[in-house]
Symmetry: C2
Subunit: 216 residues, 2 copies
Amino acid sequence: MKVLIIGANGKVARYFADFIKDDSSIEEVAMIRKSEQASYFEERGIKTVLLDLVKDPIEKLAAAMKEVDTVIFSAGAGGSGLDKTILVDLDGAIKAMTAAEQAGIKRFIMVSTFRTGREAMAMENDLQIYTIAKNYADEWLKNRTQLDWTIVHPGILVDTPGTGQIKVGMGNDVNEVPRQDVAQTLVSVLHHDNTIKKEFEILSGEIAVEEAVRSV
Amino acid sequence: MKVLIIGANGKVARYFADFIKDDSSIEEVAMIRKSEQASYFEERGIKTVLLDLVKDPIEKLAAAMKEVDTVIFSAGAGGSGLDKTILVDLDGAIKAMTAAEQAGIKRFIMVSTFRTGREAMAMENDLQIYTIAKNYADEWLKNRTQLDWTIVHPGILVDTPGTGQIKVGMGNDVNEVPRQDVAQTLVSVLHHDNTIKKEFEILSGEIAVEEAVRSV
């Protein structure tokens, strides 16, 4: 299957690119914003498409999704300002969903934040606006599209090596999770359609990724 | 009818309070954030309720809507920061809608911005984040609630005295409109249920407010 990764140059998505090197069933198209980001993917035999989620129109995003089966949204403003948070994490995500529907794609996998919902949005902390942006992007995906969505909610992302073992479910206490394990989970989600119209947290755990993904 | 005004201390809403002094069919409840804002309303025989749209939970907003027939959302962060724009104009608006539905209210009138939609959201200007916030609040009202909504889209708000004459419709070129005329339009919308599930721009014009409102 052909998978467009939006935010391909992010850390989780780079781990994803490494995983699918060994998975001939998945062909990645890496959507990147700067041409200097291309080499990482070219070295791995991955095609890139140069697009700006914020500045480019939905039609250009949809054109990049031609012959794509699945979109993974792994982009994020990541502390580059509240305006970017709204432009990328909220409006950019909704643009991507709209483009996917225009392109006739059904499958859309969203990398969300750990906790959304009213209680999380009411927390007056540095992540409040980010949480609101992610919350309403997820809401849009679930309720305003006809997409076959999956929403994953990773815990606190860390760069320690993945263990290949996670904990899934909802309502867990927050904890860390290696980005590498999140990436492996995304690969597994692509292979397991039981995850369609499901959302689940990903934390460090003791269950093999594939088994955990099968269980959701 | 009993009307809760969210953002009652704003300029448009203060004009509204003056209009309904002479309209015995409308009883305003002014939702204000600071106790020192109460005197303006008390002098006009208008009840106030002290609530913070951002900090107070939906349940408290819903409690303030008991026995209310209509909610007018006229709040706005008004340049107090991008965080406040998201907290008030997007999430605050959605909290108000949710509270209205919890309280069993049907009628909800939204004071939006002049132009929403994809083209407006793509304009890289100082209003971009505000436009996105208002856009998705309007979208929520139209598509995620069962409320009998009306959305008004005023042009550039000015403080020159109202003329009692406006122009309505959609797709007009932007132009000024006195806040006083917007307030008068809101009063008229309350009296004309043909405006339910309609949205329209309000600009300076040459048609009497009531006639214009009847025409939408």
